[in-house]
């Protein structure tokens, strides 16, 4: 969406990953978002996460709805196919795409207007359907593209730049996702790349529906001290339930941690995440416990972040439906058409 094309220059000393690609190979077109927008930090985190993991860019499908958030897919992984669909309907498009070819990585990018208002129904139902994907909400509590109306994730009492105060309780997409059966739920902050990058990596590798609610301040319309989604409030009230490291499959684990507070979680493909919990009584495997911690912090005006909940025992839609091993989009006449002999028998049942 830019009038300025991005320079193609690559620094000769840029590090390459296992595929021989540099970070530049994971970039997208030049951003057209406002300077300092949290969403650009999300793009940067995705680029870093994918490059570090040596993800093949063309094996990723980026799908979004409408809004500032939904422009993000244009700004990372230009070699991946993208689909900027209609407002609030990314979940259905992602569902169909995933059914058609289960072998790609699916990254859904949405916003708080897109997922918590116009698309709340679709959000709930994609969680229920256990689509194997990473679903990101870039959450700024405001409608940026229409110039700063409050969104449904704006906290009660939060104020936008124009002074409009939120009179209603906020919808918390992370707790909703946990309630509805998402098997990987995290919350992070666009400003905290150290936390966000390993969460993105773990979310991509998690088999099942992974959801990350990323607080991503809108510098233009919702970054005042009176806004709970601004940089200041987020930094002030930000609490990590655990610190997280993503450990790729083949890396030997060398660091040692103090016992009790460290959890190693092995992901589907053999890679792992290490959680360094800040408290002993927090258990990310326990739904009620996770919800309790999120809500307890909320009462104190704090935002619980990090990996909030994980369940590695659920099946994804393809497993639930027991679909064929080969992707549907690779099947042709031979696999799909029963032929005229079968039809002749079927005709006989209508005589």
């Amino acid at each position: 969406m830019s009038y300025i094309s991005k320079p193609k220059f690559k620094h000769p000393l840029l590090k390459t990953n296992d595929l021989g690609l540099t970070r530049r190979d994971y970039e997208g077109s030049l951003t057209t978002l406002c300077g300092g927008c949290g969403h650009d930090s999300i793009s940067a985190a995705i680029i870093q996460a994918a490059a570090e993991m040596s993800l093949e860019p063309h094996r990723v499908a980026k799908i979004s709805g409408i809004g500032c958030s939904s422009k993000i897919p244009a700004y990372f992984l230009s070699k991946a196919n993208g689909f900027n669909s209609v407002h609030g309907r990314m979940p259905s498009v992602a569902t169909g795409a995933n059914i058609a070819n289960k072998e790609l990585y699916y990254v859904g990018i949405s916003g708080d207007g897109d997922s918590a208002s116009i698309g709340l129904g679709q959000f709930c139902h994609i969680v229920r359907r256990r689509i194997n994907m990473l679903y990101i909400v870039a959450n700024n509590g405001t409608y940026g593209l229409t110039k700063g109306q409050l969104s449904a994730t704006a906290d009660l009492g939060s104020k936008t730049k124009s002074g409009e105060e939120s009179l209603y309780d906020a919808i918390d997409l992370a707790t909703l996702a946990i309630e509805l059966g998402a098997s990987f739920v995290a919350r992070s902050f666009s400003g905290d790349k150290k936390q966000l990058v390993p969460l993105l990596q773990a979310g991509l590798k998690h088999k099942g529906f992974a959801f990350i609610d990323i607080i991503s301040p809108c510098v233009t319309f919702n970054n005042t001290d009176a806004s709970t989604h601004g940089y200041k409030n987020t930094w002030d009230s930000y609490v990590a339930l655990s610190a997280i490291d993503y450990v790729p499959m083949r890396k030997e684990i060398t660091t040692s941690y103090a016992p009790g507070r460290v959890k190693e979680i092995t992901l589907h493909d053999g890679s792992a995440i290490h959680l360094h919990k800040t408290s002993d009584d927090y258990d990310p495997y326990d739904k009620e416990n996770a919800l309790h911690h999120i809500n307890a912090y909320k009462k104190q005006g704090k935002i619980a972040t990090g990996l909030l909940y994980i369940n590695q025992t659920t099946s994804d839609l393809h497993e639930i439906q027991d679909t064929f091993d080969k992707p549907f989009n690779s099947l042709g006449n031979i696999e799909l058409c029963p032929g005229n002999a079968a039809l002749t028998n079927i005709n006989d049942t209508f005589r």
Binding site: A74, A80, V86, S92, V93, T323, L336, R351
Partner: protein, 614 residues
């Protein structure tokens, strides 16, 4: 016991293989399967038969009718007037008896005396104590209810001379796998047959005689044929939201997939069916799957079409193939959900905001439902755009006689212009929306095909030939012009209109879809009166050149359609630049299938206004 109860002063009508039997029932009483059995037995006797369900939007307790036209001549349209009424519903019995033609018959349950005001002296009554017979024969309340229906079918077999062996065969077929149900049903048929034979002079003057007119045919409903067509057409993804009268499309797809699409080696499914949370999601899923290279469809009706508008615009503009079956019902709004109409033509042809246009197919028989369902996937992928198959409740939910379904085993799916990794290698710079061939159809890639080439950003926002966002008005206009060109190219891939031009007549009839059932009869009846008409059945939109030619070749063309606002005529005016004076609308929008009589009368009324005789 008296052999026949003669309540009529007039002689009874005498007809062989040419009459109408109507069943008036209470819905939820189990009448549907008995009535179907009746129609099927006539079909198996080789006699053309067309049953029509006229049912309420309700599960139990409201009136429902099943109207069976029997016609040796092969006329399958609805005929007004009833020759034999099976009056099983006390709520409607007065009107039902009134509908019987003089000299016709009323079969009723005489367990209760018929009130005097319901006795007409110009029809014959066939009283059968159905309730008493079933009370005597059966212990369980549900059997007493259900078998009443079978008993009256047994009685009809005696009255009309239905081949009893055929009836019992149908029972055996129907309960295959539930054999313990066969004997009680056959017994119920025998009870009815026996009672009628003992108490009346059987058969009546309305009679059935074995024929050979249906030997090659099948009796199937349009929705089942569509479901099967989707299996044959290679659909792997069905996403839908339940909506009458489209529901049985996905039911049929599901049932045939479970038989025909399970991998024998692994037992895994080569299909996925998602019952979505609403119609927006239903079409969104189909579009997502289509974008990613799977053949996907959704089925809906009017209210669903309204909800799908935004997504249809996206698929049109971003050029994603998707197939949509619209089983039309009566609108606007909730309308009459269980009645038929052709009321969504304009809503579908130009669905969504901005300049859009969509490919529509108009099947007119179950066979064509099957063919068009399979073809729709080829057309959608060839053109990279939505294809909407416009059926209706009449065609979708009623069994109809048609030619058997056929598949050419040599046929290969037309997946359209899709570039493989090898093909991408030889291309300097790939442009998703470049019109390389000059036909308005660009080349697409499936996501994930090639590491370096072929990826693009699909969007509903304005884009250039390389799929990049643009607000340059000229670039936008170029894309819109190419899309218009693509729609002109589309015609080449669409089924041509079917024309019967028997001579140089001045008059023509133009119609679509289920109206077909009436046309032959109209033509024959009017020919007897010296009025000869050529006909054209349009099978697709955008229209072929032949459509305009046909209209131009005639002094007046009757445009026959089942809606209030002459939507087909409007489309013809917009798209073909036709002089309004050359077209005369014949419209029917009472929720039931248009009848030949309605069309004939409309034409006869117009005739004197024409300057010359035909």
């Amino acid at each position: 016991m008296p052999k026949i109860i003669q309540t009529s002063k007039v002689s009874s009508i005498t007809k062989i293989n040419d009459f109408v039997v109507k069943f008036a029932n209470v819905n939820g009483s189990g009448s549907a399967s008995a009535n179907t059995m009746f129609a099927k037995s006539i079909f198996r006797m080789g006699i053309p038969v067309s049953p029509h369900n006229i049912f309420p939007s309700n599960i139990q307790g409201l009136p429902t009718w099943y109207e069976v036209r029997i016609s040796e001549a092969g006329y399958l349209g609805r005929r007004e007037g009833v020759d034999l009424m099976v009056a099983m519903n006390e709520q409607t019995i007065k009107k039902d008896i009134e509908a019987v033609v003089p000299g016709g018959y009323v079969l009723y349950d005489s367990s209760k005396t018929l009130p005097n005001e319901l006795v007409r002296d110009d029809v014959h009554y066939l009283p059968i104590p159905l309730k008493d017979i079933c009370l005597r024969e059966y212990d369980k309340p549900n059997q007493r209810q259900l078998f009443k229906n079978i008993v009256y079918v047994g009685a009809l077999a005696a009255f009309l001379k239905i081949d009893f062996k055929i009836l019992t065969d149908i029972v055996s077929d129907q309960f295959k796998g539930k054999e313990r149900l066969i004997l009680p049903n056959v017994h119920a048929l025998e009870l009815g047959h026996q009672y009628a034979s003992d108490n009346f002079e059987c058969p009546l003057n309305l009679q059935l005689k074995h024929s050979n007119k249906t030997a090659a045919n099948i009796l199937i409903d349009g929705n089942t044929a569509i479901g099967l067509g989707c299996v044959y057409g290679g659909a792997t993804v069905a996403s839908w939201y339940p909506l009458t009268p489209s529901t049985s499309v996905v039911d049929a797809f599901s049932s045939y997939c479970h038989r025909l699409r399970i991998d024998p080696g692994t037992g895994k499914k080569k299909f996925s069916i998602v019952q979505a949370e609403d119609e927006l999601s239903a079409i969104g899923i189909a579009i997502g799957a289509g974008w990613n290279g799977a053949r996907a469809f959704t089925a809906t009706s009017g209210p669903g079409i309204s909800l799908m508008q935004e997504f249809l615009g996206l698929a049109y503009f971003s050029e994603v193939p998707v197939v949509l079956f619209n089983i039309q019902r009566v609108g606007p709004s909730t309308g009459m959900p269980t009645r038929t109409q052709q009321g969504d033509l304009l809503a579908c042809a130009y669905a969504s905001h901005g300049d859009t246009k969509h490919v529509l197919l108009f099947p007119s028989s179950p066979k064509e439902c099957f063919d068009f369902a399979a073809d729709a996937f080829d057309i959608a992928e060839r053109l990279q755009t939505p294809v909407i198959v416009m059926s209706d409740l009449e065609l979708g939910m009623n069994e109809q006689i048609c030619d058997p379904l056929q598949w050419n085993d040599k046929r290969e799916y037309d997946r359209g212009k899709v570039l493989s990794a090898e093909a991408l290698e030889s291309i300097q710079r790939y442009g998703r929306y470049l019109d390389t061939d000059g036909d308005g159809i660009p080349y697409r890639t499936y996501p994930g095909t090639h590491p370096e080439k072929g990826s693009y950003f699909t969007r509903g926002s304005s884009h250039d030939a390389y799929a990049a966002y643009t607000e340059d008005g000229n670039v936008y206009a170029e894309v819109m012009d190419r899309l218009a060109l693509k729609m002109r190219t589309a015609v080449k891939y669409l089924p041509k209109p079917e024309i019967t031009a028997q001579g140089k007549h001045r008059l023509g009839m133009l119609y679509i879809g289920s109206t077909q059932s009436a046309i032959q009869e109209v033509q024959d009846n009017l020919a007897k009166k010296g009025i000869n008409l050529n006909t054209m059945r349009i099978r697709a939109f955008p229209f072929h050149e032949e459509v305009k030619q046909f209209i131009d070749q005639h002094e007046l063309v009757f445009v026959i359609e089942q809606n209030r606002d002459a939507q087909l005529k409007t489309l013809l005016k917009i798209e073909c630049n036709i002089n309004e004076q050359q077209m005369c609308s014949i419209l029917s929008y009472n929720g039931v299938l248009i009848t030949p009589t309605h069309i004939e009368q409309a034409i006869l009324q117009t005739m004197p206004k024409l300057t010359h005789s035909n």
